[in-house]
């Protein structure tokens, strides 16, 4: 067995971790339409990446790595209420996305050395999508940081405004996302193979 198997396992679990975290953040900040729209959209990308990378991983043997799981557990701690809580959530999502990104970088080198054209192409496509996730996270943090960090909060309004949406106002796609979430496994309970 070569080390690439372990790296692809790392990527598979990291993408599951990222996908679940994106959905968790989307649900927590469901009153921020742009956040839940794009975060649920990206969760599907990451779930797709996990499935795709698994196909390759199987060909290289039974690799395993618990790093992503441990990273996921270490992140998303503390109060994550509106404003600064959202910026912190986006910050942690960026950390996970960077982790995935470096996984693609390392695996791409190995795939090239192995002259595995199919894997090189697949990593190229998935890595480009990870770049776009990272670019969006950076954009969202840049757009929200000044208001969240430079303006004194008004705690009562923040509390009221971060209550979960009434179920009746949550569109159907959100519910579908919950099903997807169940399929992926609950947030940070994702085990490597």
């Amino acid at each position: 067995m070569i080390g690439l198997a372990r790296y692809l396992a790392l990527l598979e679990s990291a993408e599951k971790e990222l996908s679940a975290a994106l959905l968790a953040v989307a649900e927590r900040h469901a009153r921020e339409p742009e956040i839940w729209q794009t975060a649920t959209f990206f969760a599907r990308w990451s779930a797709r990446h996990a499935t795709r990378v698994k196909e390759f991983r199987k060909r290289f043997g039974p690799g395993t790595d618990k790093g992503s799981r441990k990273l996921g557990n270490a992140l998303f701690q503390g109060v994550r209420r509106d404003g600064i809580g959202l910026v912190r959530d986006l910050h942690d999502l960026s950390t996970l996305a960077h982790f995935v990104h470096l996984g693609w970088d390392a695996s791409l080198q190995a795939a090239k050395a192995l002259r595995n054209r199919a894997l090189v192409d697949a990593i190229g496509e998935m890595g480009a999508e990870t770049d776009r996730q990272m670019a969006w996270l950076r954009t969202a943090i840049a757009a929200m940081a000044a208001q969240a960090l430079a303006v004194p909060p008004e705690l009562f309004s923040e509390l009221v405004a971060s209550r979960p949406k009434r179920p009746s106002s949550v569109p159907r796609r959100m519910i579908r996302e919950s099903q997807l979430r169940r399929w992926i496994g609950l947030f940070s309970s994702v085990e490597g193979p």
Binding site: R31, E32, P33, E34, Q37, T38, F41, F42, D82, G83, R132, Q133, A135, W136, R138, T139, A142, A143, A145, A146, Q147, A148, V151, P152, P153, E154, L155, F156, S157, E158, A161, S162, S168, S169, V170, P171, R172, R173
Partner: protein
């Protein structure tokens, strides 16, 4: 673009859009072969799912066929409101004056020099905060003073129950500046009465870049003053100063504001330096760009196929059309288009709310020809009001007969956010759809619409929501 479009053969597009393949092929053949094409689009595109991506595809069609910058061929990406072109040029949309790029330090420095202020005084630490985000900050309490000028969010924004509760919120100091006591002004702590267009002097620019002067005809009634006078009074009372201690802004009237703006357009794509109040008053409108050296205006842009896309010149580095992520200066410079147009494509994404068994109809909102925006003015014109006195809901005959609804029946239309009772109007609409005009404050279509917006333009989604309808007793 070839890769993206290649994955949407007519069969798949028919599946997504319900537009028959034969018609798609016919449209493609027209657009592919026509020698001249003029396209114009408006809110139907801008307030739909993937609005910016769709608007960009219209530009793409013209670009790849070279149907731009020549007689009979152009694109009109229209603005929904008469002064919306102005606000884009002068920076009132939150962007910087004369299409300057907030992300380009040299543009910010140039503007700071023109205004004689430190660059740090000019907000450019992030993208402009759009209206929907401002309302979210009101909701979370980090905005506690909101000053609304010449618009009526209590009728025009989506999900009105939410908007009303925000505007009524304890702890929010709300200022409304309008010519009439609109639904929004009625909720305000302070109302500043403002003059209408005939009661003040200023210029307007339309979507084909023609600048017109509008001279004051009558004095405003009562205590009403022009928006500019109110804002200048505020600036003086706040004692805003430039970096030499002189009052800021330096001008004191509309003509002075025009001169200040004119100086800021020098060398920019919207060069106004050859346009003056004298020239505008003497004849008809004048199109920009019109620079002071030649004094002549240009009827067409892009005749040579050169666009203001150079990294040093462009107003924005652009976005990922599917996610709204901004492109950084470094990324843009690495592939500097340097005057070439940029072709961008995006994959189809389904809307965030679609009809289902509970809410089986698509709601789309829009206008009637007799009214403008929330009827603040047109609702006070007898002829217009008589012609279109009240809101209605429009159904296709198939849907109406299934629901047992006849023309004129009272119907309850309900979404996940609210409900409305409206008279029905049958016909002239696609099956499966319901249309409600958004103008009417007493029974506003926006009670039903979704809070959500395009990731690039930030315009709300007014063109789709899922609703159900049933006949009710009057």
């Amino acid at each position: 673009m070839r890769d993206v479009v290649g994955s949407y053969p007519p069969e798949r597009v028919e599946e997504i859009t319900n537009v028959p393949q034969a018609l798609l092929r016919e449209a493609a053949s027209i657009l592919g072969n026509a020698l001249r094409v003029v396209s114009s689009c408006l809110q139907g595109i801008y307030q739909s799912m993937q609005a910016t991506a769709a608007a960009v595809q219209i530009n793409n069609l013209h670009l790849i066929r070279g149907l731009i910058g020549k007689p009979g061929s152009t694109v009109f990406q229209m603005n929904g409101q008469p002064t919306a072109q102005n606000t884009r040029e002068c920076g009132a949309d939150g962007e910087l004056v004369a299409f300057r790029n907030w992300n380009n330090e040299r543009h910010v420095e140039e503007l700071a020099r023109l205004w004689n202020v430190e660059p740090a005084k000019i907000p450019h630490w992030g993208p402009p905060t759009h209206a929907m985000q401002i309302f979210r900050y009101v909701e979370t309490g980090s905005i506690r003073l909101l000053w609304i000028l010449a618009t009526n969010p209590a009728v025009s924004l989506p999900e009105l129950a939410r908007v009303r509760s925000l505007l009524r919120k304890k702890g929010l100091f709300l200022v409304a500046q309008d010519a009439f006591l609109s639904e929004t002004a009625a909720l305000a702590d302070v109302v500043l009465p403002a003059a209408l267009w005939g009661e003040k002097t200023g210029t307007f620019t339309n979507a084909d870049r023609t600048v017109h002067i509008s001279l004051k005809a009558v004095d405003p009634p009562g205590d009403a003053r022009s928006d500019l006078d109110i804002l200048l009074d505020y600036a003086r009372r706040m004692d805003f100063r430039d970096k030499d201690g002189a009052p800021f802004p330096s001008f004191t009237d509309a003509r002075g504001a025009f001169e200040s703006f004119r100086a800021a357009t020098r060398g920019r794509p919207c060069d106004y330096t050859g346009i003056s109040y004298e020239k505008l008053t003497g004849g008809s409108g004048i199109q920009w760009p019109c620079d002071e050296r030649t004094g002549t205006s240009r009827e067409r842009l892009y005749e040579e196929g050169i666009f203001p896309t150079g990294a040093e010149e462009c107003a924005l580095y652009g976005h990922d059309l599917e996610t709204g992520a901004t492109i950084t200066e470094e990324e843009y410079r690495a592939r500097d288009p340097g005057g070439r147009a940029r072709i961008k494509a995006a994959h189809w994404q389904p809307p965030y709310e679609e009809p289902d068994s509970q809410f089986p109809l698509w709601l789309t909102t829009g206008r009637v020809v007799h009214h403008w925006h929330t009827r603040t003015k047109t609702g006070r014109v007898r002829a217009l009001n008589d012609a279109a006195p009240e809101a209605f809901v429009q159904f296709a005959p198939e849907d109406a007969s299934r629901l047992g609804i006849l023309d004129g029946d009272l119907v309850e239309v309900e979404s996940r956010r609210g409900k409305l009772r409206l008279p029905a109007c049958i016909g002239d609409i696609a099956p499966g759809c319901a249309f409600i005009p958004f103008h009417y404050g007493d029974r506003a279509a926006n009670e039903l619409t979704v809070t959500g917006w395009d990731p690039v333009s930030k315009q709300p989604y007014f063109k789709y929501a899922a609703v159900r309808a049933r006949k009710v007793k009057p």
